[in-house]
Symmetry: C2
């Protein structure tokens, strides 16, 4: 595999090369270090939108409608469907692919499902890398769609420039939203299925809860609450307008750069943690951790002091590796 | 707070002291190092049973029935209900407490709900510590009940000596069980609500799937599949008999020790990871990580090399801390 050629082809917009690179990310391939180094200078252009919400609120139809609207403006669009809750699913959210089939043959749209496949912290390090691939491949906008299940919504929020939270009437009133922590993460709220009973009440509740937060201070972004009926296209232009407005606000206030730096820091940290865990696995194989565990089971010491010992062993191993061969690098994750 | 007094009271079986110590675990209290060191020599006596299954299979009623049967034998019982899927719930599974109320006033039973409260890897390090508290407090058997949601079932399996997987007719046929990975983790399968249609088919499917695995080799444990109707007590004695048989098998084959050593290793590793993450947080505050992230956002380098830099900084910090003050220890998590 010639990484340079693959990266060049992806940058030229060849779908196969893009798909291949994202597969390398999914597989945690050793060539990723080289791939990411080659892509990094060409990334940073795409506006990354996170789309989250409980199952059944209409994430896929909304994504589909947004993709259509963005394509009409001539923008290149990437769609990344992430399923952090499904370690066993192994790659495909078939339903999404089918529902997204409006755009399946459009060469200006990349659609990709990604499962974390049980990698520890897989979403944290793999998603930013897949975003980097799509970004460097020339996407103007990337939609990251995730099944919202508790913590993962919050996790995904950190991956996007702009987080769009979808609700449906009766499913997500203000208090439930507050409980779930989504009031804090949403930059734009969309009450989908707004032709159903209770939509106005849900909008009112949300606006009220948002007004109670500290986001109403001058200069801060006040998240709009937009009614939509995704399959008919109602509200889609309003959502698009809010997306543009949010991007402009982030650029003006420096928020965009700050969020991207935080995202990069999270990615680096996730890789470092994965690397350290993999080294711990080596230590386990090398009896050090097992000895510590045997002592603990025998009633000697405490797990904290044992953890100190493990960290010390890691530090030693790192120093030895660095001393012996300065070119030696972690092959992670 | 006098840790010595608290530990003595807990060992004497005082419920308040036990509750207080588990609260310290939930709060990730700095005194935990001392607490765990004081408890460790007195732990290792309890047989830890994991009870898992999808919502609605009857985990709480089964736990309730098992507690009743164990109490009749005069054993002291601890119940730990863990909810790893609920970072926002903050401590109590009220439903469980209510359904467990048969035993709420029995001084030979400790019942405790625990939420991971969004701590990273909270279940991995907090659950073994709570188990150590209950173990040192004299429990003969501890039941760890968890809401099964994908990966967490597997995670919990590693925490128990004996894993009991609950299914209900029509909810968990063999193929679904295989998909969910639970065939590998169950030591005992219970088809609950066995008075419903389809129970025999579910039992047959499960037995068939188990027979296809490699667990039928001589000397290996072949997981029994037991029919039960927990509210009426049907099958409870069979489950108890299987639990005893599994314990005897584990003792004879050395499996019990091996599982406990693995559990201790997981606990130590989880604490080490939490500690390293907390150090990373310090580095972030100290600009090192932010500088690496700024460079990545600027298109320089790659996240892997940045992660190397972060790990190197951690190793340095650890060496400096160890050199400057050998008594300095991590205060984690």
């Amino acid at each position: 595999m010639d990484v340079g050629v693959l990266v060049e082809q992806a940058r030229a917009g060849r779908p196969r090369a893009v798909a291949r690179l994202i597969s390398l990310v999914e597989d945690a391939h050793p060539a990723l270090r080289e791939v990411m180094a080659a892509l990094a200078p060409h990334a940073g252009h795409a506006h990354v939108l996170g789309i989250t919400g409980s199952p059944g609120v209409g994430k896929s139809t909304t994504t589909n409608a947004l993709v259509g609207a963005l394509r009409k403006r001539g923008q290149r669009v990437g769609v990344l469907a992430v399923d952090p809750s499904s370690p066993f699913s192994g790659g495909a959210l078939l339903g999404d692919r089918i529902r997204m089939s409006d755009h399946a043959l459009d060469p200006g749209v990349y659609i990709r499902s990604m499962a974390s496949r049980g990698h520890l912290g897989g979403v944290s390090w793999a998603t930013p890398q897949a975003l980097r691939v799509l970004d460097a491949a020339g996407c103007d906008v990337i939609l990251v769609e995730t099944v919202g299940v508790g913590q993962s919504e919050v996790e995904i929020a950190g991956l996007a420039d702009t987080s769009i939270v979808l609700l449906a009437p009766g499913m997500g009133d203000g208090i439930q939203a507050a409980k779930a922590g989504i009031l804090e993460i949403g930059d734009i709220f969309v009450v989908n299925k707004a032709d159903r009973d209770g939509a106005d009440a849900t909008v009112r509740d949300l606006r009220h809860m948002i007004s109670l937060g500290d986001r109403t201070e001058p200069g801060l972004w006040r998240p709009p609450v937009i009614k939509a009926v995704a399959p008919t296209g109602v509200g889609v232009d309003d959502v698009l307008e809010a997306i543009d407005r949010h991007l402009a606000w982030m650029e003006k206030t420096g928020t965009l750069h700050r969020r991207r730096v935080r995202r990069a820091a999270d990615e680096i940290e996730a890789i470092a943690v994965a690397s350290l865990r993999s080294r711990m696995g080596d230590l386990r194989a090398g009896h050090r951790l097992r000895d510590l565990a045997e002592a603990l089971v025998a009633g000697e010491g405490d797990p904290y002091t044992a953890a100190d010992g493990l960290v010390a062993a890691l530090a030693e191993a790192h120093r030895d590796a660095a001393d012996g061969n300065p070119a030696m690098r972690l092959n992670v994750p």
